[in-house]
């Protein structure tokens, strides 16, 4: 049907293009479908289709083997009575908000410092590196450092003679996951913000200095407004990636061959734990799908709200 539109589209095609390209444009339109369809088919079949299927499954009771049984919204109402899900929901949101706030605050401060330093290219590469390392590895290392007889306790006891601190007991485990998440994500956001700040022409800062602006005022009136576009995209990017966090929590503290304790689960672990995961998987496909869909809807709403909140008139410079 897209091919049927040219009579309308043709006359107002590109300004200033040489006449000879009209025929070229017309025959290029013939490439449109063959070029776009393979990607579209894969995308529909393996991403969009399964998402809709998950929505369908979420209205059923199903273990993947026997027949699906319709049970309407029961899965969803059961979720809210399930303390495990409520914990997973809270954890996901805590990661989003608390870790997110820490990541952006720290990244901003680091960016402001790093951009004036010698060797910033090297610093940025090192800070960024965790982003391309498997989160499982980072999780193992993070756990190892804070083990009972791990690095941190060893250093503390030799320097201060303190007793080993139980970093990884049930009370502290999620906190350590939060801090670990901040550790592995900060470098990425430093890199993104640094790239945005680098695009700000130098003379804005010089003008600000001449006008007697202090460091805070330069941040508030030059850096923030002029890098706002990128920061708002980065905030949405963080929202999306925070929902996807799985490996770091899954492998954390782990020498067991089971799931981590439910107290540290987030949404992704909840889905996995209620379907395929654990020593004896529960195969609650309908229930797990309901939680996944619920989180997807919640995060979609959050992103819409976030976009509204972060929208500013973009400044050309």
């Amino acid at each position: 049907m897209t091919l049927a539109t040219p009579p309308v589209g043709e006359p107002r095609h590109r300004r200033g293009s040489p006449r000879g390209t009209g025929a070229f444009d017309r025959s290029r339109r013939r490439l449109y479908l063959p070029f776009v369809v393979p990607a579209l088919v894969l995308y529909l079949a393996f991403v969009i289709g399964p998402t809709l299927a998950a929505l369908w499954i979420s209205f059923h009771r199903w273990d993947g083997v026997s027949d699906m049984r319709w049970n309407g919204l029961d899965n969803y109402s059961a979720l809210f009575d399930d303390p495990t899900f409520r914990t997973a929901l809270a954890n996901t949101l805590i990661i989003l908000v608390v870790a997110g706030a820490a990541i952006f605050a720290i990244s901003f401060v680091l960016t402001m410092i790093v951009r004036e330093m010698r060797g910033r290219s090297f610093i940025r590469s090192v800070l960024f590196f965790p982003h391309i390392v498997s989160a499982i590895v980072l999780s193992i290392v993070w756990g190892f450092i804070f083990e009972h007889n791990g690095t941190v306790n060893t250093i503390l006891s030799t320097v201060f003679g303190t007793e080993p601190i139980p970093w990884l007991n049930a009370d502290n485990l999620f906190l350590m996951i939060l801090i670990g998440t901040v550790w592995i994500s900060t470098g990425l956001y430093v890199t993104i913000i640094l790239a945005a700040v680098d695009r700000i022409p130098r003379y804005f800062y010089e003008e600000a200095l001449l006008a007697g602006a202090n460091a805070y005022q330069r941040l508030r009136f030059v850096t923030l407004p002029l890098s706002w576009d990128v920061i708002s995209v980065a905030a949405i990017f963080w929202t999306i990636s925070s929902l996807k966090i799985f490996e770091f929590i899954y492998a954390f503290g782990g020498t067991t061959n089971d799931m981590p304790p439910p107290a540290v689960w987030n949404s992704a672990l909840f889905v996995y734990g209620e379907s395929f995961g654990g020593r004896s998987p529960s195969y609650l496909f309908g229930y797990a799908s309901a939680s996944a869909i619920l989180m997807l809807v919640l995060f979609t709403a959050l992103i819409v709200v976030l976009r509204r909140l972060l929208r500013r008139d973009s400044i050309e410079f």
């Binding site: 290029r28 990607a39 894969l42 289709g49 998950a54 999306i240 996995y272 379907s275």
Partner: protein, 316 residues
């Protein structure tokens, strides 16, 4: 007119195409009158404290990776007795054990094949789509680009159960081919999204010249656009290789037998087997290094591309 002068200078010094090239802070300001003013703000203690913190962070990351590599050559008792000691001799036993007995050799082969093959396939499918979406003006091109971008927001935990059901109906569960197809398809949205933005930013003039010379649109795509977009194609290829190499959730659901494991699954498997066979941290860290070192090598080689690609994605 002084400010005009600095506009011109910064204009030259800010190649907006590649922020990564702006190096070392030496480009900061034109050597002009006001520089002493700037310098006075640099000595304050807060700034010094900040620098110390940055270097502490950098040192921490470097130490962590040094620790990984050192530990992979040590025995477990050595790791706990002297975590930061240099291993007395280069002890390759951990590596050979991990490689030969814990299945990391097979896993490395599996993962490398998957990541390379699937990322090339993703590129082959996505580059044409990105080309027409960025160049042809039809009513559907805009909405379709947005539709592809929506896929970036759908996490694997939403699709994994239906995908499992789909693949088990066609007998592609516990199959590297099945995972290959899934990796290829699930990376399409990101690849189309990144490449559409990239190709849109490329000049049209060369293609128009080719059209006047009588090149067919397909030839123009193949011989003009693809070479022109090469850096974008390479960047997205590498980003996909990294993402597939490290992928775990889909792998852990779809692969069930040890000889099909990817490296991350082999590592998780090793981690859980330590509960029965005793803590072998030397072996664990050798496995960790097998997972990390290929990515480290890729990073050392192409860090600028990788960083550029990621910031490009966010800059759109």
């Amino acid at each position: 007119m002084n400010s005009e002068n600095s506009i011109a200078q910064t204009g030259v010094l800010q190649p907006h195409s590649d922020p990564a090239v702006v190096r070392g802070g030496r480009d900061r300001r034109p050597s002009g009158g006001q520089s002493p003013r700037v310098r006075t703000t640099r000595a304050d203690p807060i700034r010094t404290l900040g620098r110390v913190l940055v270097w502490a962070f950098v040192t921490f990351n470097l130490l962590v990776f040094a620790f990984l590599i050192l530990s992979s050559f040590k025995t477990t008792t050595d790791i706990f007795r002297a975590p930061w000691g240099i291993p007395g001799s280069l002890n390759f036993a951990n590596w050979t054990n991990a490689w030969n007995e814990s299945g990391f050799a097979r896993a490395t082969l599996n993962t490398a094949g998957l990541a390379l093959g699937a990322s090339f396939c993703t590129l082959a499918v996505s580059a044409p789509a990105a080309y027409v979406l960025s160049r042809i003006r039809t009513r559907s091109a805009g909405p379709l680009s947005v539709f592809f971008a929506l896929g970036l927001g759908i996490p694997a935990q939403v699709t994994v159960i239906p995908l499992f059901e789909m693949m088990s109906r066609v007998g592609l569960v516990n199959s590297l081919l099945g995972l290959f197809i899934i990796y290829t398809a699930t990376h399409v949205p990101f690849t189309v999204f990144l490449l559409t933005g990239f190709m849109r930013s490329l000049p049209r003039e060369i293609e128009e010249a080719a059209a006047i010379d009588g090149a067919s649109p397909f030839r123009s795509f193949w011989q003009v656009m693809l070479p022109l977009a090469r850096s974008g194609l390479v960047t997205v290829l590498i980003l996909n290789i990294i993402s597939m190499w490290n992928e775990t959730l889909l792998g852990i659901v779809f692969l069930q037998t040890v000889e099909k494991y990817t490296v991350s699954l082999a590592l998780l498997n090793f981690l859980s087997s330590m509960q029965f066979s005793g803590a072998d941290y030397g072996g664990l860290f050798a496995g960790v290094c097998i997972l990390v070192l290929p990515m480290l090598a890729l990073y050392l080689w192409l860090w600028r591309r990788i960083i550029e690609g990621i910031t490009l994605g966010a800059g759109k």
